[in-house]
Each structure stands twice: as C-alpha cells, then as structure tokens.
Symmetry: D2
Subunit: 243 residues, 4 copies
C-alpha cells in the first residue's frame, strides 16, 4: 500500500498578505506537497492537502484514518483549530500516525497536547540562520550537508520548552546571537513526531533544496510501522499459574 | 528555606472500604507523609497533606505556590479532579515544582496532561512483584537493594504508553508473567516528574521500608533548583549587530 | 546498491559440542543468514558469513568496507578476537556501519569498546523467557506480538551495565524471577547498534519465527544512511567575518 | 563524610607558555580548586589537586579510591597519560566516581574510553562564545543566567561525535558561525560524567563567575550516591522455584 501523506496548512496568510502570496501563490501546503512528491524516498506516495476551511478543520476522523503521515503548518490561526480536531490529531499520532510539525506549529494545539509542556521559545523576525547537523547518521540528515544557510528567516531561540527530544538531529545558529534545537524527533505513543524549525511565511524557506530534502526524509522517517498488539490496555489474565 | 512538600490523596477508598481503612487508618497521604518525615534527606522539610475535598481540590494556586514537591495518589476519583485544578498542577510542574506520581496516578489528569500520551497499561489485581534496580547510580536508588519484593500488589504491565523516560530507575517483575518500567523520571519544563508504580490501596505497600526509602529519595530528587532566567518567552532584541 | 550484510560467528561451540551442533549443524551464522534471507525487508540484500578462523578474524578492513550491517555472535572465544580486529569493527560502526550484537556479544570486544562500560549482567543457564514489546511503534517491533515466549533460554538479568539505551524496544521476563532490557538501540558515531538478548547456543532460539523477524527488522533498521559531511573534524575557518 | 574532590591538570602549558602562566600562575588546577572551594554547594568538601607528574600520573588506585569527584583538564599531553592510568579512571567512574571533563578533555583517554566514539569536533582558536541554557530546571544550571558570554574562547563546533547526552544542559553560539552542545551529562555505569566545553588555556575562562558557578554545580551533581548492590555480576541462583 502506498504511503498516504496529508499536508495541512491553516492557509490564512496567503489569502491576506501579498508578500506571503508572492512566496507561495498556491499556499504553503502546495509548495510542501510538491517537495514531497519530488523526494526519491516518497516515490509512489499518495500526497494530499487540507486546510482549516475544510470540513472538520480538514482533519476529520475519516481523513486521519486514511493518513499515515501528517505535515502541519499553522501560525496565526492556532486558536481557530477546534479543540476536538486537535484531540483527534493527537490521538491518531498516539495510535501510530507520523507528524511533521513545522515552524510556528510549536504552538499548534495538537503539538502542545503531545508535548505536555508550554512549548514557548524566543523569537524575532528578520534574521539569518545556519543549520548544523548534529546526528550525521540520522536518516533525516541523509544527503544534507554539514551545515547550510537560510538567508532570511525568523529567529526562534532557546530555551525552547519541550521535553528533551528522543533524537536531536539539527541545531540552528542565528546571526542575531541565538541557538535553537531545530530538528527534533519525539516518539509519542506508537507515533513519531518530527519538529522542524524553519518556515516563516514571508521567507522562501520551503523552496530551499536542503529544506525540501529534510521534509521528505522526515516524512519517510515518521511513517508508521505495523505492530500487531492491541492499543487499548485490557485487564489481563495471568500468563503464569498462581503459586 | 526548608523544602515544602505536599502529599495529595483523593482520600475516597479509605472512607468507603474497610480493607483499605485497615491498611491506612488516617489515609494513604498520612502514611506517605510520615515516610517522608522519617527520611534522612528530608530532615527539616515542611510536609503537609491535602485531599480532593479541600478547597479548589486541595491544589489552589496559593497552595501550589507554597509547594516545592507534590506527591499525588489518586485512583477512583480521577474524574472528580476539576480540569482547572489539573491544569494548575501541570503548570506548576512546568515552572519547576517536582511531582511524584504514584501507582494509579498514571491516569491522573495532571500526569496525562504532562505526558501527552494515553498512559494506558495492563493491569490485574492480586499479584506478587519484584522490583529491580536498573540504574544503580541513580540518587533515587540510593540505599535500595538490587531487588526487593512486594508480596501483594496489583500488577501493572507493559506496554505502558508514556514517552520514553528520561531516566529509567526500576523495572518490575510479576509472578503472573508481566514486566513494567516502574520507576521513571520524566523532565517536563523546569520540573521533574517521578512515576513510581507500586501502591495499591488494599496492599500494605507504603509501609514497606524500601518503598518508603524510594519515596523520600524521589521527593529529594525532584526538588526544584533556582534558575535565574524568565519563564515566559519574550520577543527578543538581537544580541548581535545587524550585518 | 543492495544492502550488504555480514553475519559473523566465532564458530567454536558448534565444532566441539554435539548438543550445539544438533541445533545448528552449519553453525549459528548459517541459521541467522537464512533468517535474514527470508525476511521481506531484506529482499535483494547480499548476505555473507564470516568466522573467527577467517583471515584477520573474519573482519579485515576490506571485508568491513564492503559491509553495511554486521551481525555478531560470540561467547567462549571473545578473548581470541584480536584487539585490532575489535578496533576495526568499532571504527567502522562509528563511521556508519550498523551492528546487531547478539546474546553473549554483550561481552564481545567491539561491543564493549562502543559502550564504554563494563557490560556486566546476571546470568543463569536453563530458564524460560517471555519477551515484551515496550515501544510498539518501533520498526524493530514491526509484526512482533505484544509478547512471546522462548521455552528454553539462558537467563540474563539486570542490572545490565550499559549506558541508557537511546531506544528501548523489548524487555524480558524470566520464570526464575529476573528482568532484562533485552532489545536496545544505541547510536554510536554515525552507526547504530542493536543489542538483542536471546540466543544461547544450546537452545533453538534462532529457529523461532519471532526472533527471526526481529533479526531482520533490526538489520534493516541499523542500515546506514548517507550523510554528505566529512568524518574527520578539521580545523575550521570562520564562517562569519570577524567583528 | 565530606565530599572528596580531586582536580587534575596535565600542568604543561603553564610551565612552558608565558601567556598561559599569566592567566593561571599556579596552574589551571589551582584556579579551578579555588572556584570549587568558594561554591556554596561544596562547603566542607575536601578539595585536592593532582598533575601528570605525580606518581602514577596523579591517579593511582589509592588516590582514586579516596575521590568522589574527579575534575579533568588536559590538552597537549593526552598521549602522555599512561594507558593504565586512563583505564583506572574509567573504571572508577563506572563504579560510581563522578567526572567533570573540561574543554580539550573531549580527547582525553579516560573520556574516550567512557564514550566509545571518536569524540572529534570542529575547532578554531580565537572566537567569542555565548552559552545558552537549554534545560533551565537542571541543577547544573542553578543560578546561571539564560545566556552569558565569554569574550575570548577557542571555538569547538558540531558535529561533536559523542553518544547522545543523557542530559543536554547548555548550547554554545560562536561569533564565527558554529554551534556546540557544550554542557552534557552522560551516565556511565554507576558514575555520572559532565562534559563542559569552555576553558582554553590562553583565555581567562576559569576566572569567569558563571563558569565557576557551573563548575561547582557540576561537581555537586555528579557526586556519587550509595547503592547497596554488588558491582560484579554473579552467576545467580533462581529467585523462583522451577516449574
């Protein structure tokens, strides 16, 4: 069965801000979907998109049940995502769906539900970022250079209040003087979450070839595997005789 | 300033079940509070107790602001803990308060908020447990033997759906055939959480000297430290000149 | 390029002990190689074997340079593996080669070099083991049941002196009363190591279908990925102008 | 019993280089020992120093048996530390002694033995460093500001080839464009290791009040705890009757 990927975008900036629309005429989701479609590891994958205006916020139970990996971009409309939609997303991750949370999605409701922490960080618009690989053997770093630059990006800086990542793949350096754990894998339930820092709406980040490679690597990495046990924990009969 | 510890118990079983009251005539909280008072690492600590019937569920903002370490025992009344009380507890942990979550507290609202996962596990009443130390150099294992037994305990078994612990201190073996990660440290925000598995209300677990030692070690371990930075993440001025 | 797997076995027990030869007439390595060849994830892989009697202990630099994943079984001849052979293996792991270390390989020279700890554990021949999955979403657990039994196995028990695993996939329960972290992933340099506990030479463990599935899953999981940066750390020119 | 701390320095630069002697007239070890003596958490500790010229390289078995926490500074004389001295240090760490490894000690023999990896990193003399706290609730960060600067330091940069730290406390930003995981806790056996990046011999780093605070916090943090189990793993009798 082909891998089923859903790229979700709140899709608000692009409709209201000319500068953003110039960067992403069809929406950030369309640009990301094309990046995934071009990635060699994802050949044959079914790649769809959804936005906040779609029924059930774009993430109905039926849609999520057809999704192996969800990519999420949100920023100014976090509060408009219905609480039950956020719970559905978190629940599907716990049951095995992969999640790639991008940039401002550190404050998205599903991401916060899965982290359990405040997810706060420092920020400042208009900086320059250099991304360093710290776990060179990690599949998400495959084909990525030791470091690469994004000439225009919003700064996000430490302390970043998430639980210690299970796998720390990338660190960012900012010209303004900050650092950030910018590529983090966090296993939650049976699902894997990859948080990737860059992607401010007014910057051309998702057109960058290294970013696009990372997006594809990440979608492949968080794809679910098929475990054969039950999800619900039952009251259990003893496996050994009483003694 | 002395360490301020609050032992919270839903305090329902002891009022309604003779067998439980026989084990814990003043309530599980009173038994635990005495264990902590006798622990050498906690000499001088201020140890208080609270129960669900207290104002604001026993965990008002004022009470939590006076608390360095919260010990939590709950089981049949998880659903009666107000949502805002659970949020307050989780928020105080993120800001640095330590939390020792005991036994059925794996399903307590504050614990689930902090974990972000389903926290499900296998269970069966009436088993025998042997607890093994797997990280012998850990402060919570100080003075604890390589292994010790609890002749009567409820079984909790894997898969236990929490994020991978930051520190795994104890594993449990059950006569019925299961295993469990039964002593787990999970850092959340600026606070530390220790989950400790044993403590079924009808068993004499909190009278056991090894368990009492672990409770005291854990309360000392999760005590907060004083970092001097801000909690809220501000929009930040650049630290370096533009170039 | 197909995945290149090398199954290494000291191959001593099978030549000197009838009971072992009865279990593994062509050697443990041959049995494991067939398990890998039958695994769906490894279709097309090149699977070779080597033993201690081969030139350079079976792990010359040329052989290792042609190897993506090394599976290692050793027990009574650990001390006969030349120190430089052990260093070569460890060095290739650091540069990206995957390693699946089986059973008594907890005391193999290359494994100890990579761990940095004593790697001691408890042991007793003649027990019964039940293996539990604790990270159900892990690729190495794909298709593996919640728990399965090995009717005859040597017991290895905690405390197992390795660094805390980066990923803990399986725990073992023993009828004799012990527990063990029995499926552990440890990233070392650019390589990944999977330690898997079962496989005593007098028991039919590597004929067990669940064990065979895990072996194949593990070989696929620790396969290297291609990072494009250098391994040696150079003295580096500044990336930013002095100021 | 008071905490027994040993500050070890190869003590070569200070004898041969006027610039280093100007910074540390009595040796780097003496400066660090004074920092520890002034730290409130270490009141009452016995603080000694040792250097490479002392018998058995300063780390005889007798000396190490009297040491709870070892602080290690080495650089140009790593190769002059006898192999057996390095093994002794590593073995004492595994048995519970704490180790604070400073700056170039990333390449010290005992540190490499404990890590199992190449421990390579990028480097360049003459840079400016800003250290950020990423785990604000960590005891080693107590009283440390969100960030602080060292106006003159050698740059060490990623990729830093150590196993993923068990606890990541500090990250460094360099004016020249690099980043580094610069405060890392790694548990090894029963001992804890803290690697702290700064401390180039020609810079006044160990006179900096934030650095001195961190050194003291770290020495307190890695102090051993007393577990009551055996270190050697015995062949074990079954704890349960055969069935």
């Amino acid at each position: 069965m082909p891998l089923r990927i859903l790229v979700w975008n709140e899709f608000v900036h692009e409709k209201t801000d000319d500068a953003v629309r110039a960067r992403y005429p069809d929406g950030i989701h369309a640009c990301i979907a094309r990046a995934l479609a071009e990635h060699p590891l994802l050949a044959g994958a079914e790649i769809r998109t959804a936005t906040l205006d779609d029924p059930d916020g774009g993430v109905s139970d039926a849609v999520l049940s057809d999704t192996d990996v969800l990519v999420w971009w949100g920023h100014m409309a976090h509060h408009l995502v219905p609480d039950d939609a956020a719970e559905r997303v978190a629940d599907h991750v716990r049951r095995g769906m992969g999640l790639v949370a991008l940039h401002s999605a550190h404050f998205a409701k599903p991401f916060r539900l899965l982290m359990g922490t405040s997810c706060t960080l420092k920020w400042r618009d208009g900086d320059r970022e250099r991304i360093w690989t710290v776990q060179p053997g990690h599949p998400i770093a495959a084909g990525v250079p030791e470091h690469f630059e994004l000439a225009e990006e919003e700064m996000y800086g430490e302390p970043f209040d998430i639980p210690a990542p299970d796998e720390l793949v990338f660190l960012s350096w900012f010209a303004g003087g900050e650092v950030m754990r910018s590529g983090c894998v966090l296993w939650r339930g049976r699902g894997k979450v990859f948080y990737f820092r860059p992607g401010h709406e007014t910057n051309p980040t998702y057109h960058d070839p290294n970013v696009r490679r990372i997006l594809g690597n990440a979608a492949a990495y968080v794809a679910p595997t098929s475990w054969s046990g039950p999800f619900e924990a039952p009251k259990a009969e003893a496996l050994e005789p009483k003694r």
